[in-house]
């Protein structure tokens, strides 16, 4: 069946890149009209920050938040991305878009790549908005930073880690969201499948983030080591997800 699709695509002379662009355009146009993904994810991220504020409100002035800031940031990203992934394929499923896409002369791997890209884009947009808030609310006001004891790494290091993390989350998350949207308990199933698969990546990311936020001597070594590990994990898992996506479409 997949073969028939690809021959149909080559017959109609639509290159993979054009198919990819068309799918991306479709998702972005849908988002520009409804604005539901970015709004709900951003709002949810901000609400998580408010909950952090409440949770830490009794910690006192001596509490060094830089030690746990990486974990808090990652928690926010995981929650937000799960919300987004849950919603990312709802239209495809409920309005029969997925069947239409399968009928259209489009290669199946391109459906995966386009969906993963849009998920990554939305996650990146939300992070660009929410992470500065997180930094201002929690990290910049911590006693270590004010006194100058803690010397965080440059901002591009933070951006690189979040970039690697978002790639992994979007890549694997798209596969798992496609599975969960076709099951009975959607949100719950996504959480049950997503968090164990993400576990190695999250461990690596939190190590790299902690190295950057707390700084100190020789933090670059840890940082690059962990970035390499995250990149390796992403490469392996996304390759597997890419290969397996063909099988779960249209069964």
């Amino acid at each position: 069946m997949a073969k028939a699709k690809s021959t149909a695509a080559t017959r109609s002379n639509i290159s993979g890149w054009r198919q990819y662009k068309a799918l991306l355009k479709k998702d972005i146009a849908q988002e520009l009209r409804t604005k539901e993904m970015v709004t709900s994810m951003g709002l949810y991220g901000m609400l998580v920050l408010v909950i952090y504020y409440i949770a830490l409100s009794q910690a006192g002035t001596g509490f060094d938040i830089t030690l746990i800031a990486a974990g808090l940031l990652l928690l926010m990203i995981v929650f937000t991305s799960m919300l987004g992934l849950n919603r990312s394929l709802i239209h495809e499923h409920d309005q029969g878009q997925l069947e239409a896409l399968l009928l259209a002369p489009i290669d199946r791997p391109i459906i995966f790549l386009a969906k993963a890209t849009t998920n990554f884009l939305f996650l990146a947009i939300v992070q660009v908005v929410v992470v500065p808030f997180f930094y201002v609310m929690f990290v910049s006001s911590s006693p270590g930073i004010i006194r100058g004891d803690v010397d965080p790494g440059p901002w591009w290091m933070l951006a690189l880690i979040l970039f690697l993390g978002s790639i992994g989350i979007a890549g694997v998350g798209t596969l798992l969201a496609t599975i969960s949207v076709n099951s009975k308990g959607r949100d719950f199933i996504l959480a049950v499948l997503f968090i164990p698969v993400m576990y190695p990546l999250l461990l690596v990311l939190v190590a790299a983030l902690t190295a950057v936020i707390t700084g100190g001597s020789g933090f670059e070594a840890t940082f690059w080591q962990m970035c390499a590990a995250a990149a390796a994990y992403n490469a392996v898992v996304i390759a597997v997800a890419f290969a397996l996506y063909d099988y779960i479409l249209g069964v």
């Binding site: 009975k184 499948l193 190695p200 597997v240 397996l244 069964v251």
Partner: protein, 323 residues
Amino acid sequence: MSKLQEFAKSFTQKRELQITIVLAIFGAILTTAAFVMAFTSANMQYHDTTVTVDYLLEDKGALLAPPAQQVGVDEGFVYITPWFSQKIFYFHVPIAQLSLVVFSLAAIFGIIFLRTRNPNYDLRSRIAMETTLIFTLGTMITGSLWTRASWLNSWGELGSTLLSEPRLVTYTVMLMFVVAYFVLRKSVEGEEKKATYSAVFAILAWIIVPFSFLYTRLTQEAAAHPTDAVNTGMDPSNLLPFIVCIFGMMMLGYAIYILRVAEEKKRTQLEEIKETIEDSLSKASKAKGVNATNQYSAAVVLNKTSEKQSSDSAQSASKDGGE
């Protein structure tokens, strides 16, 4: 009726059952032999780098070796000769290793299912995952016994060691994978969809196996969980029960696996036979002209019409009375 005959024939063959019984008996004998050897012939190893050292000098009561066997002070360190943690080693390690092997089997059968679309391989993948669940729980039970003997962090006093030890958390994630696999199977409708999704998830979940294996070997912080038992060399008296136990556990695991696969195959056969019997029954009744359900609905219709008639007559009677 030929299916029914096949079914009856497969019971007379009983090949799976024979293999299972032989494997189970041998497995049980070997495991018991390892158990006996562990408590009788195995020497105590107390070198600091082996897995068998209880390095905390608190009172552990019955978990320690008898006073006569204590080695006492050696090169400035005070050792207590291990007793219980030495014994649990022969069971904990084989079960843990086999759980990883069976988990890998589930992923391999998942790959074969996706290539061939043969439901038999989906069944095998599922049963392998069930066996993984048994072995994973066994690892956790024996591991927590060892924890109590060796780290002094029992379930009664959950110490920081237990909650932050990387190997334990990684292994818990593996248990979560296995549970998630069955949760996924429950919540997907349609046989082919269910089989495909769970095969995909089993393959993706396999990533935890190399991660769990390598994590404690590559990172420095994982000092609490011993990993270098085999590298530092085991005493021959220790190695023998260890290997015997590995083979015994393998046989037991394989027996469980074969038995469950045979059971599930029989169950699907039985369902098919039920369907064919139902089909032939309905055909036979159709040939007679009256279906069982038709009979029932006819009875209902008759009842209703008679009720209607009686109410009509009652109404007319009341009308008559009124007039």
